[in-house]
């Protein structure tokens, strides 16, 4: 597989803050690659380096086989970049924004309409509306259209779904899947763990470092302790009791259940159930579950930091 993006030991420092450290990744052609992490994990710094907007302090970064420092002009023509902050012109209409970005790249909307049709057709009824007056979900679709209008070979999308509601998020990911099917290479960052499973491969980022890199299913094999979903009507009471247990490795709320991992490899659901019933939780249920992406991310974070500081 031909590499579209290669990072070798990339580091970046802003004063006292080490924003990125020792990041090594290669992304192949046609891959949908996700960077998963919270604010401050270094995702935006990484995207800015790849988009040739920021110079790395250490290491090497290549996009489409070109060095991001020496060949930045060539790279810029061939990539599409959607920054985390809405960066289109709020005073221009939907259509004017799109035409502007096409002309900057020396092309026309008509020439590449096929590529953006799927996304832009949803905006066309509003094409005379000013971009600043669009809803969050529509702004995001316009920004993606503008990033695609010159038919780039690789897309960098920095937190395209942050602050967007669950329905618009789902639609946006369906668009990304369709672009990927057409052979587009896509690097996308997100703080939403549920989006990670939609990527071919993911990198967990935390405080500038990469915690793990694998396929979504591969990454969950890093979670090694027995894991249980435990439910009771008094969720808060249950959480307090489980946290106080000397065998508890971790206890976290996951929707309506608690995910409890045990330090004893031999821990069993029926024994936990009996113990909790004896503690007065009459309506408690316990079942063994497979760890998900979020369970794994939390476990890796805790491993890295000893125990996460209070």
């Amino acid at each position: 597989m031909k590499e579209v993006v290669t990072l070798a030991n990339v580091g970046k420092r802003f004063g006292a803050v080490q924003a990125l450290q020792g990041v090594t990744i290669s992304v192949g052609k046609g891959e949908l690659f996700g960077f998963i992490g919270a604010d401050g994990a270094g995702k935006t710094t990484l995207f800015r380096i790849l988009a040739t907007l920021l110079l790395p302090d250490e290491g090497r970064a290549e996009v489409l086989g070109l060095d991001v420092v020496r060949s930045y002009r060539d790279i810029r023509k061939r990539i599409g970049y959607m920054p985390g902050k809405f960066s289109l012109y709020p005073d221009l209409s939907v259509e004017e924004n799109l035409r502007f970005f096409a002309s900057v790249f020396g092309t026309t909307v008509e020439k590449n309409y096929e590529l953006i049709r799927d996304i832009y057709s949803q905006l066309e009824p509003f094409k005379t509306r000013r971009a600043g007056k669009l809803s969050g979900g529509m702004k995001q679709k316009l920004a993606l259209s503008c990033a695609l209008v010159h038919r780039p070979e690789v897309l960098f999308l920095d937190e395209p779904t942050t602050g967007v509601d669950a329905v618009s998020r789902k639609e946006f990911w369906q668009m990304l899947r369709r672009l990927r099917e057409q052979g587009m290479t896509i690097l996308v960052s997100t703080p939403y763990m549920d989006e990670a499973v939609l990527c071919d491969r993911i990198a967990f980022m935390q405080e500038g470092k990469m915690l793990a890199l694998d396929t979504p299913t591969g990454i969950t094999t890093l979670f090694r302790k027995p894991l249980f979903a435990i439910r009771a009507s008094d969720t808060w009471g249950l959480l307090c009791v489980l946290r106080a247990s000397p065998d508890a490795a971790s206890v976290y709320a996951f929707g309506s259940a608690l995910h409890y991992s045990d330090n004893r490899p031999s821990a069993r659901a029926d024994e936990l159930l009996a113990a909790l019933q004896a503690d007065g939780f009459t309506d408690v249920s316990v079942s063994v579950i497979q760890p998900g992406i979020e369970d794994t991310f939390i476990a890796l974070m805790e491993e890295k930091q000893g125990s996460v500081d209070e």
Binding site: A38, T162, A166, V167, Y192, A253, G255, S256, I298, M301
Partner: protein, 245 residues
């Protein structure tokens, strides 16, 4: 059952011909964790701006923390807490200065401010960084401080507008621990979020679609009604059914 902390009856806000909030009727009681959900543009922000006394309603009735929204909006502002992800504390002030500033705004006496500052720094374990500027603290610490500062003046209710956006999964859950603890002590929590797993942590939920209440119930009851396993599915069903109309 204690006095309701929020009571609204057909609360409505129009902007010209556009009805942003359409006949919102809610009763929220003391100590409740109330989740307020909706797609972008569903009217959540407008509703919150009315309930916090920042925007006058067009019609309908409402009392918040014992004050009428029309005649007592200043009383409302003094008796509620508010925190959002976007604006909460001043990054250029130290931890101690932030506490003092917000306590002053809410009219606490100098003596009370001293007392409260000491308690707060102690309970949040921030004594060592009391004179550090906020900008250099980890997000999780800032968030805990922002929440504590929002309820420093002991309001009956606190509005949390997407308090956990962009936060790592552990910090997000630690934040919810604080929410639970505060609600156990009787504080009413009115919270918005885009994380559907957080919706499950609420006592009751209201889902807004196009300015109207599309569903209002306990999370488990709502999932039963829609015959699905998660709040995410409920939300997508509701928001999507409107879109295809």
């Amino acid at each position: 059952m204690s006095e309701p902390v929020i009571h609204t009856d057909k609360l409505t806000k129009r902007f010209g011909g556009f009805v942003a909030v359409d006949a919102l009727s809610l009763t929220i009681s003391g100590g409740e964790i109330f989740g307020f959900l909706g797609a972008n543009g569903a009217g959540k922000t407008t509703a919150i701006r009315m309930l916090t006394g920042l925007l006058a309603p067009t019609s309908g009735k409402a009392t918040v923390a014992g004050f009428d929204l029309y005649s007592g909006s200043e009383g409302v502002k003094r008796n509620i807490g508010y925190m959002s992800q976007r604006f909460s504390l001043y990054e250029d002030l130290t931890v101690r200065e932030n506490i003092r500033f917000f306590a002053g705004i809410y009219g606490l006496t100098n003596q009370a401010i001293k007392e409260k500052s000491r308690q707060l720094l102690d309970s949040l374990k921030l004594v060592a960084v009391a004179d550090t500027r906020l900008a250099s603290l980890p997000l999780g610490w800032k968030q805990k401080l922002a929440f504590s500062v929002a309820i420093l003046h002991e309001p009956k209710i606190v509005f949390l507008d997407e308090p956990t956006g962009g936060v790592d999964p552990v910090t997000r859950r630690r934040f919810w621990d604080m929410i639970y603890e505060a609600s156990k002590q009787g504080l009413t929590i009115f919270v918005t979020t885009h994380y559907m797993d957080e919706a499950e942590y609420c006592d009751r939920l209201c889902i807004m679609v196009d300015g109207k209440v599309a569903a209002l119930d306990r999370p488990d009851a709502m999932k039963r009604t829609f015959g699905v396993e998660s709040m995410n599915e409920v939300f997508i069903q509701l928001a999507r059914s409107k879109k295809t109309e």
